[in-house]
């Protein structure tokens, strides 16, 4: 049984094409992330100062061994790009898991129990929204030193708001439906109603939120790494690649164009997939 009985159904035409494009981009990125050690043509960490800033294949004087050229330390750009994809996906997914655990717990409790609990949850959401995310994340990493674990925990603790908002509002809708009342009458426990009736019926909405959050987390990780307080070097995060290449961008713009395009395309792909899923499920994710 579904809450979203009256949905528009999957949209045809260009919408479904864009969903497929999104799925394709995310699929390729997932393969790159999982099989990065097998896919990289060179060691992404091996420096070779004799081969600094080789140009990519579309420019005059490129080296066919290094399709996307090399960076300022002579490291193969394509290998670093693939390794960077692994880092982006890893952080995007883990941050989303952390924030989903926090947000869904708060949202479902608030929406299901109502009253004082709900007031407290709403207050937590309001407070969280008033905290400037980038600034606080920078401060935490700046104070405690940069590491991937710390970054994931910090972003996870900061990005649960949309999960909480959506989980809360959808739980409120489901709570008042007939089949939940029937479950109460049948003598089901609160926990059983939450796990067997409420959660399955709000799951589709949460999946859509999850995709949007993955995109947001990937963008934020890149931003923090760009500012020097994200993923520690020499790990090739795309944001860090752009930061390290910034000094050379006026003479060889491709050094920032390549990782930037990768970041842009991945985030776009995740968002396209999320939008497609939203249409498919008829889910609402606006707060």
């Amino acid at each position: 049984m579904s809450v979203t009985a009256v949905t528009a159904g999957p949209k045809r035409g260009w919408r479904s094409i864009s969903t497929w494009i999104g799925a394709l981009i995310v699929g390729v990125a997932a393969i790159c992330a999982v099989f990065a050690p097998l896919l990289v043509p060179h060691d992404p960490f091996a420096q070779d100062l004799g081969r600094r800033l080789l140009v990519p294949f579309w420019m005059e004087g490129s080296n066919p061994d290094y399709i996307l050229g090399t960076d300022q330390l002579g490291r193969d750009y394509l290998s670093r790009l693939i390794w960077g994809c692994r880092i982006s996906m890893l952080i995007g997914v883990t941050v989303t898991i952390v924030s989903a655990l926090i947000g869904i717990t708060l949202g479902v409790l608030g929406g299901f129990l109502g009253g004082r609990v709900d007031d407290a949850v709403l207050f937590a959401i309001t407070t969280r929204l008033s905290i400037p995310v980038v600034l606080v994340a920078l401060a935490v990493v700046g104070l405690l030193g940069s590491s991937v674990t710390l970054l994931v925990l910090t972003l996870g603790l900061l990005l649960w708001d949309r999960f909480a908002v959506v989980a809360r509002s959808t739980t409120m809708q489901v709570r008042n439906l007939d089949f939940v009342a029937a479950a109460w009458c049948a003598g089901c426990s609160r926990f059983r109603i939450l796990s067997h009736e409420v959660l399955p019926n709000i799951a589709s909405h949460l999946v859509v939120v999850a995709t949007l959050e993955i995109a947001l987390a990937i963008l934020l990780e890149a931003t923090l790494s760009f500012l020097g307080l994200g993923v520690p070097p020499p790990l090739p995060s795309w944001g860090l690649m752009i930061a390290e290449a910034k000094d050379y961008m006026f003479f060889s713009p491709w050094v920032i164009v390549i990782p930037g395009v990768a970041l842009f395309v991945l985030v776009l792909g995740v968002n396209l997939l999320g939008d497609g899923l939203r249409d498919l499920f008829g889910a609402r994710t606006d707060p």
Partner: protein, 305 residues
């Protein structure tokens, strides 16, 4: 109306108090502040001196209440690095950040209102789809990267705009555009959705039946109602933009509050960091209150009895 305002005010004060506590805890996360301030080459005696000088020898609870008490009277403490009052540092840098934020908001509104309205009027046409595509592209655009691309193109290759600093209005054009990009997708989607909803309502049918012109129906009837949520979200977006301007200020070397915070994080200047977090949060809370108020003023239905 009054009851609504009082309730909102109480929540706002509670949120500010919570953020204050969090900001205080945040800066104490790293353990002993005195050691980090004194630096890596300090002797034990230096660390003790620093601890005394900054009042870090007192219990945490005392430190917290001192900070809160001083902050309430407008004293945000002294910066360790700049040797100046934190409040005057922030006041000095705030105009840059506010100018940037307002420039971004104006650009965002100028772009997204017409786009949203036109997309709604031509719902499900090629134009509507193009607008939706643009919002998706805008959402995926990393702001720091867009900033760098604009610098290369308009700053270096075309030489139209200065690439960093705050000398003239021209310095705010590129950062403003980049900042606007973060708000355009949400504002456009909301305008479009609001207009579509308004255009399908009964009072629009009545207006049509009266034989009013298309422009009059669109601008006087539909837009008025569709604008209510947009105005409110615009205020909230400004809050997000001020908080997020730290990235753009760093890219374009604009010495605003975000840049100050970034510098201070690098220098372990905790009083500045916690004060900037607090100030930005308070501004955000004030803007959301303003948004609620504007909602109530624009939409009599929300005022209640």
């Amino acid at each position: 109306m009054l009851q609504f305002l009082v309730r909102r005010l109480i929540v706002a004060v509670l949120v500010a108090a919570t953020v204050m506590t969090l900001a205080f805890i945040l800066t104490r996360l790293s353990g002993d502040l005195a050691i980090s301030i004194a630096g890596p080459n300090a002797t034990q005696a230096d660390v003790e001196a620093v601890r005394k000088a900054y009042g870090l020898d007192q219990p945490l609870v005392t430190q917290f209440f001192n900070w809160v008490g001083n902050a309430l009277s407008g004293d945000l403490g002294d910066s360790y690095f700049f040797k100046a009052r934190v409040s005057s540092l922030i006041a000095e840098r705030m105009p840059v950040t506010l100018t940037l934020g307002l420039t971004g908001l104006v650009i965002a509104l100028v772009v997204s209102l017409p786009l949203g309205i036109l997309a709604a009027v031509r719902e499900n046409t090629g134009f509507d789809r193009a607008v939706q595509l643009v919002t998706l592209l805008g959402q995926a655009m990393p702001s720091f990267w867009l900033g760098l691309l604009l610098m290369i193109t308009f700053g270096l290759q075309l030489g139209w705009l200065p690439i960093s600093g705050t000398g003239s209005w021209e310095h705010y054009v590129m950062p403003g555009i980049v900042l606007a990009f973060s708000a355009i997708p949400a504002l456009t989607r909301l305008t479009r959705a609001g207009m579509i909803q308004a255009m399908g309502s009964d009072y629009i049918r009545t207006a049509r039946a009266k034989g009013l012109s298309r422009a009059s129906i669109l601008l006087k009837h539909a837009l008025r109602n569709a604008a209510i949520p947009v105005v409110a979200i615009a205020a909230v977006q400004l809050g997000f933009m001020l908080g997020g301007s730290i990235v753009i200020e760093q890219v374009f070397a604009l010495h605003g509050v975000g840049f100050l915070a970034w510098e201070s994080i690098g220098k372990n200047d905790f009083p500045v960091v916690q004060a900037v977090v607090l100030v930005l949060a308070v501004i955000y809370v004030a803007l959301t209150m303003l948004a609620d108020l504007m909602n109530a003023v624009l939409d009599p239905r929300l005022r209640g009895p």
